[in-house]
């Protein structure tokens, strides 16, 4: 099966001899320490590595404002555990990272979604939502956003909207949780300032991770947050797992000491850019004209939308018979939208495989389009009009001639499990 469903970075190009040398050095020089518990907030040396990564995106937090976590996912969990009581409103983008929604729901948050378009979250809609909640006497605990190369939509929040988002947070005294796993994986265009740097760290809690720039297997992420929040997160972390893997932190330290990490990211960017381009080419060649997608400027994902009469959850059953998989779009919404969309991952497969995977998906889509048209006798032109996004559904991709794609990040990868949902 060619899986375009996962969210896995490609770890195959990481130099194994370098990995071996680092681990050997740890074993020889720091065996006892590396096998021991560590401080809950993480080692000072790990934080120095984190500061280097954040500096690459023009951020310079105080090391005391950092806590090392077991991957970015634990950061989302700890923040939610710390801040959210059952029934508290939380705001997220629509679509959003399904792994975050699962966490919010496990703490019984009342999740509201704000549409996105080509420029990311619709801050005008956010403003209305905040005003509406305020009128009802409710204040959201935080606004969760993946501003760069969003998972799953692939879009990037524009500079203007970033500024406005930070302003709104200040006006309404609402925290922002900025999840930025892909910021350094940019394949074209100029970098946008992080919300954290625009805000100065007053209202923005920043989530980073080594998963996409080094390894998801080491499970190391971090939070940068103001001290009062950080203190509570620390208590939660202590209860959850005492400390992040000491061995993994030693590995990060050794790896960064070599000073080659910017070069490795540059290599990844080259590889992923070529894969993104291969996927875009394949989409152009194999997806019917009734479909549309966004061109992601970075990250790992691309978001495609099909005509309204194709449900991608059903389509997945057909695609699996052709040995190809994707993630149906509805998983990224809480309200049943996204039914005609799909998230496609381009980081985990080689260019030929991507091409073949997209060819197969394109074929099953074309078959369903032709079938529908035969049944209805409908003309293609009429169809294109019908499939245009509804107003407010910013997620809807441009038409194919526009050639833009969306991208969606994801923490977890692996096999796809179809989520059938028909009624009987």
């Amino acid at each position: 099966v060619i899986s375009l469903a996962g969210g896995l970075p490609d770890t195959s190009t990481f130099p194994s001899e370098s990995f071996a040398a680092q681990m050997t050095r740890i074993a020889h020089e720091s065996s006892a320490e590396a096998l021991q518990y560590g401080p809950t907030e993480g080692f000072k040396e790990t934080k120095e590595c984190i500061l280097q990564v954040m500096a690459a995106e023009a951020m310079a937090p105080d090391p005391d404002d950092l806590i090392v976590t077991t991957g970015g996912q634990q950061a989302i969990d700890l923040i939610t555990k710390t801040l959210v009581n059952p029934g508290d409103p939380v705001i997220a983008e629509a679509p959003t990272y399904p792994g975050a929604v699962a966490t919010f729901c496990s703490y019984e948050a009342d999740v509201h979604q704000v549409s996105t378009d080509d420029d990311g979250m619709r801050v005008d809609e956010l403003e209305e939502l905040l005003a509406g909640l305020a009128t009802a006497g409710r204040r959201p605990k935080f606004i969760y956003s993946v501003p760069s190369f969003q998972n799953p939509a692939g879009v990037t929040l524009s500079r203007e909207r970033r500024r406005r988002l930070v302003e709104l947070a200040r006006e309404h005294e609402v925290l922002i949780v900025e999840d930025n796993p892909y910021g350094l994986l940019r394949y074209e265009g100029d970098p946008e300032p992080t919300l954290y740097s625009l805000d100065g760290g007053d209202y923005v809690l920043y989530l980073g991770t080594f998963s996409k720039i080094l390894s998801p297997g080491i499970r190391i992420g971090w939070v940068a947050a103001p001290p009062p929040v950080l203190e509570k997160i620390g208590l939660g972390k202590q209860a959850a797992d005492l400390c992040t893997s000491t061995l993994s932190q030693y590995f990060v330290r050794e790896y960064f000491a070599e000073g080659r990490w910017p070069g490795y990211i540059a290599d990844l960017v080259e590889i992923y850019r070529a894969r993104r381009d291969a996927m875009l080419d394949a989409l152009d060649g194999h997806f019917p004209e009734q479909s549309a997608w966004i061109r992601p400027e970075g990250g790992l994902f691309l978001w495609a939308t099909l005509p309204h009469y194709i449900d991608t959850t059903d389509l997945l059953a057909k695609a699996l018979r052709e040995n190809v998989a994707f993630v149906p779009g509805s998983a990224a919404y809480l309200d049943g939208r996204g039914g005609s969309s799909m998230r496609l991952n381009f980081s985990a497969s080689g260019e030929e495989e991507l091409h073949e995977g997209i060819r197969r998906i394109g074929q099953v889509v074309s078959e369903q389009v032709a079938l529908y048209e035969t049944i209805t006798g409908e003309h293609r032109t009429a169809d294109v009009e019908r499939q245009l996004p509804a107003p407010g559904d910013a997620r809807a991709p441009r038409t194919r001639s526009g050639g833009a794609t969306r991208d969606v990040p994801e923490e977890a990868g692996g096999d796809v499990i179809p989520i059938p949902r028909r009624r009987e």
Binding site: D314, L315, K318, L371, T374, I375, R421, R422, R423
Partner: protein, 316 residues
């Protein structure tokens, strides 16, 4: 006794199968049998040759495991297995063929029309939709001919909804049937060794109909067993189910799904290998008959098919 439990596979019902198998393996353990779980894949034949089970318990659902494919393979390997044989499995999995058999036997099943995708693409079947809709009325049930559970089952409440529902159903199979909707009570009759167990009635709670997730999610649908029916009605439904089971040539066990409408019970379909999870209807019916899960597994095992010499599929 060494019992191989076949599970998983690549069917869309993989997850359900794994849950069924986990319970079966536990029960086999309690019975003092040696259970060997096998997630079916390319190495299945090899695994069976290496493990050398005495009996194979098939806990697979959906195409591949429930349609006679695996059963055929086990016959070739000369291994006894649980549940219906090759022909019965193939018939149960093909809802259209099963309906023809049921009707030919004079048993009631809702009116239908069936097409494959080619009929629409190349033979202009779309032009008959109007007549079909007039004959069957709305709402209309549209479903793939060969999926288990309720995957790909769509309801069209008006003409406008038919094309989209067809496209969805055709995602699961190249053959689709349009069926008259029977308004009434949804019943399931589990049959063990040719004998009907107490009837289960499914009463959907939050929605008008079942959906796939609800079937495997505790609390979404209310199940009543035994169903609240009069004695005569119960007998009538059980008899129809038993005759259907026999008509399709089932052996060992199976589950017959019916609708009880104003015109009496009508057969919708037969599941050759019904789910055995902790929310499945078959174990629920057995429980109501005083057969706990372990005993149920024991009885299914006891009825495992020995391949009669006359059915040999390989030339001597």
């Amino acid at each position: 006794m060494r019992v191989a439990v076949l599970k998983g596979g690549r069917s869309l019902e993989r997850v359900v199968s794994l849950r069924s198998a986990a319970r079966v393996e536990d029960a086999l353990g309690e019975l003092g049998q040696e259970a060997v779980g096998i997630d079916v894949g390319r190495d299945l034949v090899n695994r069976l040759r290496v493990e050398r089970p005495e009996v194979v318990f098939i806990a697979l659902h959906g195409p591949g495991g429930e349609d006679g494919t695996v059963q055929e393979l086990l016959e070739i390997l000369d291994l006894p297995y649980t549940g219906p044989g090759v022909a019965a499995c193939a018939l149960c999995m093909d809802k259209v063929a099963a309906k023809h058999e049921i009707r030919a036997a004079g048993l009631p099943t809702p009116d239908w029309a069936a097409f494959n995708a080619t009929a629409f693409r190349e033979l202009g079947a779309g032009d008959t939709l109007k007549e079909i809709e007039e004959r069957l009325g709305f709402p209309l049930v549209i479903k793939p001919a060969s999926q288990g559970s309720s995957l790909g089952v769509e309801f069209a409440s008006s003409r406008d909804e038919v094309p989209e529902a067809l496209v969805a159903a055709f995602s699961y199979d190249d053959r689709v049937l349009l069926e008259r909707y029977v308004k009434g009570r949804e019943l399931a009759v589990s049959i063990l060794d040719g004998e009907a167990l107490p009837i289960v009635e499914a009463i959907p709670r939050e929605e008008d109909f079942f959906n796939f997730e609800a079937r495997y999610e505790i609390g979404r649908t209310e199940y009543v067993c035994p169903a609240e029916l009069g004695e005569a009605e119960t007998q009538r439904v059980q008899e129809l189910a038993t005759r259907t089971y026999e008509t399709l040539g089932c052996t060992g066990f199976a589950r017959v799904d019916l609708m009880l409408g104003d015109d009496g019970p009508q057969v919708l379909e037969v599941n050759a290998i019904p789910g055995l999870t902790d929310t499945s209807l078959f174990p629920m019916a057995a429980e109501a008959a005083g057969i706990d899960f372990t005993r149920l597994v024991e009885r299914i095992l006891a009825s495992a098919r020995e391949r009669p010499a006359s059915e040999a599929t390989l030339p001597a």
